[in-house]
Symmetry: D3
Subunit: 129 residues, 6 copies
């Protein structure tokens, strides 16, 4: 019942234009199912791609760091598609097994201490106010 | 009604030993309320500190990157205490306003695309299986 | 290992009575697996159905609006079963592809700005207090 | 701007009847703000109280165990009001500091291993299918 | 320690331009703290405003419905700022107390049944696949 | 693409030592995939097992109660692997169908009232401060 991916050949011009920009920007032969499915709402496709291109593009943080942050959020939200696609992206940018292991260790520990701070209802220290 | 912080002078020996290790490791004059409150369960205090020291210690990821991942998880979990204390830690390690802005942009965008992937029930691409 | 659905023929009288009320109220030939599984705890089956019938029944909000709100929550909680069953219900009530697209766009954007407001620790404006 | 609590003297008959049942059932002189605020929608007040009375009432689980499960969920959802009111209820039922400490330790550890299982995308063992 | 709002008089030209567009679009004398705080990262301010304007703008869903969906997500994510600002927006668009009560009832019930479906690990019905 | 489980025969000495301790402590012939997958980062394997052994070991809470709390958190976080493995552990410790049903009822109700308290922005009662 979920919406089927819209392939390039079946896509309207505005959708094809976004697909082409994704393929050029990322130097890949095809776009992921994520884009082919949200293409059912062309305005969402266009806005999401343009936002993601801006956010994940050049800036003051390393591209690999950005992908690892993306994975950390996706694990915390439990989004399987997002974990796999952004882990793959991080691997392409050079993330090693050891780095993935440390990333998971930090994500796990952050989730644990988040709950301890919340559960004990810890008051903000003066210097954190 | 939340448990009050246990100050160094009122703490049992096993608790004081952990406080001392935190202060030495971090080179700070006092420990945060987080530690002083979970000290009500000394086993949790000791285990959490030793785990955190290991996870956030030297490895293959930069210490600042680890703190930014911690902030990303804390924002997604909506833990005020954790956001403020780990943002402060990241600032001490040199995070600039521009880097914090990019971190928030990635966290926001990841949360948006996580929901789109989930809401559209996007199937895994073959290459991601 | 998950509990198997309890079919009408195998159900106790109190469970069959709930199944019958669901089928009559919704004018459907059979009930969903959701009901057949929570039927293992008959009190939960009865209470949940009666609560849902009241909450989703006639009131001041349009039935389609209620189903879309249900989908929005289910996407944010990442409950696959709930997304699919309530998206199907919304489709039966007339939700178009364009409306589903807008619903997802709002859900995505709300999740993004939620994290920005939390991450930046925005103080309440006076007029919102 | 949040809705103000509706006090007994200002409440409609159907609301007062629920307040009275809460006070009798719990043997308390007044009801919590939670009830006085959701009283703005009397159907929600009545349904929520009757459901809660059934769910938290006599059964196969100890009342204190039920309150600790309530706290565990509330910590994971980060609901301050819920944490404080159900921690208070658990204390009244005899929860000691040591038990609260263990409860928090389990909640913290569960949140950590949940993220590890999700982040590593661990496949179900055959015996768990 | 959270970043302070940037007032119009202290804002750079690109930030002032966004403020002006918000004020004109919404016909309000000033912008909310949310915008004044994310203005510390002008690219995030501009992109978020333009996205929100598009998503919440004219389409196939009623503006009030969109605001109620926004509230539903914000409650599920537990974002206080977002709940208050979007509840206020919904009130301005005409949401009555009875409609707010029904909205909360649906949000509460959806969260309950989401957990039941997940906890019982309910299999998808054939017709939902 | 997810990391494959590391079987005992292929494991390094430090990993085998943890596997052996798990098998001895739990009196089981083999360890779950969870441990075999996080074994890719041996420090995480060792630390997680030692923490879990301490947290779930003898204390002031009944072992079955601890497992039920673990299930409650896992359902709220929507972690399928965690729900199934800890439900299985609770069953081994004697959890009956009726107890599982009550556990789910409490988890569902807690999630509902959490959202009502948050959505209505209920102020803390004086006695809860």
């Amino acid at each position: 019942m979920p919406l089927l991916p819209i392939e390039q050949g079946d896509a309207a011009a505005e959708v094809r234009a976004v697909y082409d920009d994704i393929k050029t920007t990322r130097d890949v032969p095809d776009v992921n199912n994520f884009w082919k499915v949200i293409a059912h709402h062309p305005a969402t496709l266009k806005r999401t791609w343009e936002s993601l291109k801006e956010v994940m593009g050049p800036g003051t943080l390393d591209p690999l760091v950005k992908e690892m942050i993306f994975v950390a959020v996706s694990v915390t939200n439990n989004c399987q598609y997002c974990i796999r696609s952004h882990e793959a992206a991080a691997r392409r940018l050079g993330m090693t097994d050891a780095q993935f292991g440390e990333l998971m260790a930090v994500v796990g520990m952050a989730n644990e201490t988040n709950r301890l701070a919340t559960g004990y209802q810890v008051e903000l220290d003066e210097r954190l106010k």
